[in-house]
């Protein structure tokens, strides 16, 4: 098994998935249901990927749960991406000193 063939397989299929819709869909989609579907997709998929996966990412699931809450509150208060990501990391770092 050649590592470069593995990398080529991963890169090739990922590239195709990413470019096919952008190159094939040239017109504005008129269908209201389809438009709504495409609007909801990114938020739903990111939410699905976040929970419960975040609980298994850290050594202590409790620290991860608190970090999740901290991130949600900060994002709700319109803090930027970097602030939210850093604050959640710091929360885990601090809590795992005690847990």
């Amino acid at each position: 098994m050649n590592i470069y063939i593995y990398i080529a397989c991963m890169a090739g299929v990922t590239f195709l998935i990413r470019v096919l819709p952008l190159t094939l869909i040239r017109k504005e989609i008129k269908n209201r249901t389809l438009r709504s579907f495409l609007y909801y997709v990114p938020y739903v998929t990111l939410a699905v990927m976040t929970f419960p996966a975040i609980l298994n990412a850290t050594q202590s699931p409790i620290a991860a749960a608190v970090a999740l809450l901290v991130a949600i509150v900060l994002a709700w208060l319109r803090r930027g991406l970097f602030t939210v990501a850093t604050a959640s990391c710091l929360t885990v770092l601090l809590l795992e000193l005690f847990l």
Partner: protein, 239 residues
């Protein structure tokens, strides 16, 4: 705004993404090393693929010596959400963008880069996204390299903390939208609950995580689209 201005605005938006990527990809580099991949090969993988879930899944398969076909299938499943994001971007894109730029724009699609691009209050100039990508991939690729080189040196406590950075980034994409739209807020709650249930229910929890993510995304988004179709006027204001 000119292309140049869009590019610099994109680079600016890419800085926090790049920092987050750097932290997250260190963990990815460690996984690569465990799969017997050199730091340079791991960095090359990150530069070309630029997808967290896809790379993790790929490295895991390489570790067990899986076949090329298996890797192709796994990447399709792990990255299928980009198909949907790319379709959404096709609607956000400004008019008159040539094919080669559509290919280039497609190549840059990741969860976060998509997030900031779709979040723009106007039609998307691809140069904004190129700016984001150039800065972001620097963090992603170098983080993977650093992780593969000195992964075993970093204390477990630090790695544990770094591993939530990725989720922090996801949260900062969907929560602001949930604040704007009550439907999105409800969808986030439903998504959390459904994803949690599917991760622990017998039988369903045996299905690969990649497939679970796609099925849940399609089912929940489709139900929402049928029950709460977006207001066209409102959408025009956004687009």
């Amino acid at each position: 705004m000119t292309r140049r201005q869009w590019f610099f605005r994109g680079m600016h938006a890419g800085i926090p993404i790049s920092l987050g990527y750097f932290a997250v990809s260190i963990a990815l580099g460690i996984t690569a090393r465990q799969a017997g991949i050199t730091a340079w090969q791991a960095a090359l993988t990150s530069l070309l693929i630029n997808a967290s879930a896809g790379e993790y899944a790929g490295f895991a398969l390489i570790t067990v010596g899986a076949g090329y076909i298996e890797v192709l299938l796994m990447e399709t499943v792990a990255n299928a959400r980009y198909l949907l994001m790319s379709a959404a971007l096709s609607q956000k894109l400004k008019g008159g963008v040539p094919l080669w730029q559509r290919l280039l724009l497609g190549f840059t699609v990741t969860d976060e880069i998509f997030g900031v691009s779709i979040g723009l209050p106007c039609a998307l100039d691809p140069f904004f996204t190129y700016g984001v990508f150039c800065v972001a991939t620097l963090g992603w690729t170098s983080g993977t390299f650093v992780g593969a080189v000195l992964g075993n040196v970093l204390p477990a406590r630090l790695l544990s903390a770094l591993s939530v950075a990725l989720y922090g980034m996801f949260i900062s994409v969907f929560i602001p939208e949930a604040r704007k739209s009550r439907v999105v807020a409800v969808l986030v709650a439903v998504s959390f609950a459904a994803s949690f249930a599917c991760a622990y229910l017998p039988v369903i929890s045996q299905i690969s995580e990649g497939i679970r993510i796609i099925v849940l995304t399609v089912v929940i988004s489709l139900a929402a689209a049928l029950l709460f179709p977006i207001n066209e006027k409102e959408k025009e204001g956004e687009a």
